[in-house]
Symmetry: D2
Subunit: 307 residues, 4 copies
């Protein structure tokens, strides 16, 4: 399956492959580092981020966990109510959830995705992954969670649409325009949240094919690295399908494996976009903390934006 | 199994049963309220809590999820690494976890526990619980999570011990002493974190019986309600076993069902206690947000304390 | 939801309720019995059943386990391939399956269903069921499995249809006609397999509503008891929905709780029906053995018919 | 880890590797065959096997599914009782089980284990296994189950011990002696059940190390192939650990991948051994049928021996 029409002008596969080297943060924070761009979040970053809170109101950008399934999610989570006897004093339940996929908003550990057998910081798949779990750059390396400034980059708003058509590629120009709209400059340690209107598109029935989705093009990655973004999040990931046979997931593979860029997939942004517009404020304190799953490749999370 | 030796002086079963009425917050926030004491967290509370951040450092008080099991946890979570083909580009996994029990740090939805068939705000078990889930006061009511000031109440420190013996009852006097030690006054909207040294006791082999555990006595509950605490947390829950046959879990049953007190069970506090002592600061921004499990009775969480 | 049109002539709710007593096998095999009608299978029955094998050919009447789900099954099983390392020597997997429901062909333990709080042989729900499992008449009581003569009762064939319309009630007259067609007489210890053409109906799109299904009426139960049938099976169960508010599942409730009739739900019979017609033989050796699930309420099985 | 003391005299690794070729049944039943030695079970075999039934009594040799875990099984199955409402009419549950391992008696599909990337009948791992399941020689190929003569080979009895010491290698001479004791000759299409006294050893505390276990040596395999055995079963598998670095599981790898020998792991044989001795009969009808798991690598089963 080749998709030449999706190739960004000037961005052929060779150039994209080159990003694996030019954007690499290998050994930037030492050969033992497993936290990648979370290193951009310094104590000063956290303190400054806390001062974003002026209104004292919090909004969740977590997706309600899908326990039903459907055309856009073939792997729903399983929620079970447990029996506690004929005259119980409590009710309890269990959740069986795939960490990745479309069932939930989730954080990716840096070791989740790789490129030609290499994980973040140069480790090898054959040494670091076993049936017991991900040994290197797993989610426990992110235990302290994300506590930093978040900036909404509302690509829908700058393009003047409710949602991006499924075949849309988001470019670095889009991110710049959205940054301008936000009235703030993305800087070291920020989390960016890219709004593509995905949920509106699903609700409107505008997504015919669950694997053809608007998303960022590889030309965004140098910008993200330049600005020293700590966390990429959004209601979109990379544009799918990828036009690059050797790099089926450019954001995930270059981001996680080369850049050590922490990714927080599948947030829900339509309500937040309205809040930001209403408040005229596109930055906020952004908090999310993963479940502490030993050997885990990521974790479902419920990220909170506090204004 | 009767345990008269565990009864607090002056606190017979009749008096404990009376708390179901005298401490009740039924309809305090309206008959439709499902958030209980989270209502104590106002925008002002959040803004003020954010100003607790001065150092810019975060500590997790989440427990690493137990995927192995043992004498203190007969229901470990199940973590599975998934197969993605002979030449994969990513690794993924799933987690199957009981929401309650000893496998994880978790938030209780207010409908999780009941007293003689009644849930928070006067709803009835037979109407509000089904195989599909908890209909009333489930975890989605807590979607925005906890964002408030946390105060460590270090009962170990005030008693001068590494850990409380398993048969210890924590009293309101203990909480007052710990508050005094903290140098701050617990006030409306705070989360309190009660330190009993549970993990140290387990490590030292001082817990012979997993169901005999130090914990708070019912005499603490009036104090918690007077101070308008929003969240009770700790490395202990109520003293177990309960000496009251009709109230096997006083904190959970009176707290959740009558007071609408949000409970966050099984945090790990030994390291935090050291941090607080070293910094001479026992208050901090406390954040935790539940997974958005439809019909869920609670959620595993990874709470973060930011100083 | 009342369905007077589904009431068999002469079979009002009162009469159906009466079957709980008149058909009861309580204490027939002793107050400690948990095997019910499997007691009809004597050594002589087994030996005779083995002589049904003349052709030496086996057919499975098990349903392929549904791991996908759809309108006729909202609770698919979950099948997961496990990761075993970068250079594995084997592949393995796990299955997470609801014992009952539409995901699989399964055997019901006698304690699976009850009537007004009573289980098979007069035990009470409140004493025999806990979070640990079904204590009484669970699937371990059926460990030796079913090894007996099976007789196909082809109701489709006697009615001259490919499948029964969803609102069809199968009567004792249908069973008698099907028995006549089979050329043999149903006798003590037999397993009967009632063919309603369910799978053909699903394939043909003739089932609009998954909970409106052709099935046996309560008038069949006295016949089943008279003939001392050991196992009821079929590609149908009772007619659904039940027209009797107090007995929502007449076959299951009267069969399991009163008669101790072993039920084997959801076999696939269309191919077997063709085989029987082609061979002119409607009886065979019928074998099925449950998984030995401690406290289990039943088990998925793959029943085999050997001619 | 090298274990020269476990090498059978005359059976160095080179010779064992040679068995992959000399014992191979590749294309013996056609290049599309996925049933392997089940092809030895002809209609005549089944009919004759049915005549083994004279007494009319059945014994299960299935292991009760382990839902608890312990030193000999780190991956217990999970059994959950489900909540069905405040006034239920039935109880139900779910089972989450690893197909392989020590939790259950189970059948191996031929594609379960491989040798240097090759599956049964010459297929390649990289083409036949995906996240969706095992595509080639999966358990659906064994849908009709096993219906054949079983022969108990009581190695304990011929060696005059209650159980074999954990470091014991079972040789072809042991099988011959056990065959002689059985009073019958193993022939085409038989299932053999090798009795090593494993459960007695566990109960007696004679197994110090769960991965050091008595089992058959590679010298048994030519005999098994010569006799055209259809199914290998036993309360032992190959001797563990394997002394052959390139063949860590000789029985599984040579048996499944080269010979297409159907394996039925972890039956419980102590009671059956007593029955056989008491009856003076070591052959019987042996039946087992796998759950129909699409893409499954095997299935838990409850095998039945009928005399």
């Amino acid at each position: 399956m080749s998709h030449p029409e999706l190739v960004s002008p000037g961005w052929d596969e060779e150039r994209v492959l080159g990003l694996m080297g030019t954007l690499s943060n290998r050994e930037r924070w030492g050969i033992d580092d497993q936290r990648g761009t979370l290193n951009f979040i310094s104590p000063e970053t956290r303190t400054a981020a806390s001062r974003e809170v002026r209104l004292g109101r919090s909004w969740s950008v977590g997706r309600i966990i899908d326990t039903v399934g459907g055309p856009f999610n073939s792997h729903p989570a399983r929620h079970r109510m447990h029996y506690y006897g004929a005259d119980p004093i409590s009710c309890g339940d269990s959740l069986d959830i795939d960490i990745h996929g479309m069932a939930s908003t989730h954080l990716d550990a840096l070791g989740h995705e790789f490129f030609e057998g290499s994980l973040y910081n140069g480790r090898r798949v054959e040494h670091e992954i076993s049936s017991v779990g991900l040994n290197w750059a797993n989610v426990l390396a992110l235990s302290e969670g994300i506590f930093t400034r978040g900036v909404l980059l509302d690509v829908c708003a700058v393009r003047g649409v409710e949602w991006l058509e499924p075949t849309t590629r988001i470019t670095d120009a889009d991110l710049l325009s959205a940054e301008e709209l936000s009235g703030t400059r993305v800087h070291t340690g920020d989390a960016i949240l890219v709004h593509s209107g995905y949920d509106r598109a699903v609700q409107a029935g505008a997504l015919a094919n669950p694997v053809v989705r608007a998303g960022i093009g590889p030309e965004c990655l140098p910008w993200i690295r330049d600005r020293q973004v700590a966390v990429f999040s959004g209601d979109c990931i990379e544009q799918l399908p990828s036009p690059y046979p050797r790099v089926p997931f450019p954001l995930h593979q270059i981001g996680l494996a080369a850049m050590g860029l922490v990714l927080l997939d599948s947030v829900k942004l339509d309500e937040l976009a309205t809040v930001c517009q209403d408040l005229g404020q596109f930055s906020f304190l952004f908090t999310a903390a993963p479940l502490l799953i030993p050997g885990g490749t990521g974790s479902p999370v419920n990220p909170i934006c506090t204004f």
